[in-house]
Each structure stands twice: as C-alpha cells, then as structure tokens.
Amino acid sequence: MKRAAERDSFEVLTELFARDIDGALMDENLKLTPEQRLLKLEAMMRFGEEARRARAAAVPAEARRRSGQ
C-alpha cells in the first residue's frame, strides 16, 4: 500500500511540473531536426560559459553605486 501511495504522489508532482511547461516552445522545438536541436543546445552551453566568465568580472550593484557608475 505504501508503494502505491508513493507512486501516486510522484505522479501528482510530475503533473504539477508539466502544467508549467510552455507547450508552444516545445512544439517549436519539435519542428527542428535532431541535429538542429543539438546545435541549439551547444549555443545554450556557450552562453552559459560566457555568462560564467562575465560573472567573474561583474561589478556588483553596491560597488557600482559606490563608484558612481
């Protein structure tokens, strides 16, 4: 019985997360070929790397205020 209850709560959680999915974006993605999807992922990864580099050199808001930027 406990296993059934656990499974139920798991499915409820999955449904909750599924509710927030942007179906239109998913449909657009499904129009791409698998290779185009991979290239899109690569672009995301590159952006993530660039964001990490930028974060390392970022000037926090407080420091900007102090320096009058």
Partner: protein
C-alpha cells in the same frame, strides 16, 4: 571554425567504434525538450573491446577526473575503466560522463534496448528514448528530474 564540442566528442567516440547510448540532458534535448545541460552523458558497453576503443577515443582529448585536485595522477586506460564503472570527466573537448550502469535502467544492454536511432553530425547514433529517460529520471528523483518528467509526459502526449 572549430566544430561544436558535442560533435568533437561524438566524432571521437564514433571514429574509435565505441558502442554507446546517449542519455541524460543531451538525450532529452535530442528527443525534443530544450533545456540546459553542461555535460554529455553516455552509457557505454563494458566488454573488453569497447573499453579498449573507449580509452583510445578519449586519449587525444586529455581526459581527467572532473573536480579532482590538479596533479592527481589519472590515466583513462583499460585497467582504470575495468576497475571503475561510472566516470565524470573533463576533456579538452568538454565534459563527458561515462556510465557503465545507469540508475533505474541498468547497463548498456538495457540502454540499447530502449534507444532510438538518430542521424546527426553524419553519424547514426543511439539515443535513449522517452520511456528510458522516464525510468532514469524516476529513479534519480531529484527536483530537476521532476521537471524533466513533466516535459517527458508532455512530449509523450504530443507523440500520441
């Protein structure tokens, strides 16, 4: 222009005839859910020939243990692959996770049985299908896996 890093890793594995199934976030992207991921997860076959091929494929890419202290001796060769099972590696082409066994799924044979064949970067490649991804995500059960499970459910609905 340099080929994308995923292509470099795929080219290296395919040119050395490594038997592998693409799993994890990259598989989820190929199956149709766009979400960020930072590494390339593959489930690899553990027979001797494949371990030889896998070591040869990655050697030119300078594989090292991800997160290990700099200078820690590590050689990804057949004895190392045989002694271990799952490896999280950094390479000169990017991060790759080698899984001999996947939680909720099993080893290569189980992954192969639930893999779709896709053609990209000029290669025919095996990619874990939505049922396989669902099993791994349910077994892992982290918050990000619940989000992925929601996406998998939506993708399945769209495929009917």
């Amino acid at each position: 222009m340099q080929p994308p890093f995923l292509q470099k890793l795929v080219d290296a594995l395919v040119s050395s005839r490594v038997r592998f199934v693409i799993i994890g976030g990259v598989a989820l992207n190929i199956q149709g859910h766009a979400r960020a991921t930072e590494d390339f997860d593959v489930c690899y076959a553990r027979d001797r020939e494949n371990l030889v091929n896998l070591a040869a494929a990655l050697a030119p890419l300078n594989p090292r243990l991800r997160g290990a202290p700099a200078g820690l001796p590590f050689v990804l060769d057949v004895p190392t692959l045989r002694a271990g099972l799952n490896f999280t590696l950094s390479t000169d082409a990017g991060a790759i996770d080698l899984l001999g066994e996947v939680t909720g799924l099993g080893g290569y044979a189980a992954a192969d049985a639930l893999a779709d064949e896709f053609e990209f970067f000029g290669h025919k490649l095996l990619v874990l299908n939505l049922d396989g991804l669902e099993r791994t995500k349910k077994a892992a059960g982290r918050p990000k896996d619940l989000v992925d499970l929601g996406s998998i459910a939506e993708l399945k609905k769209r495929r009917g």
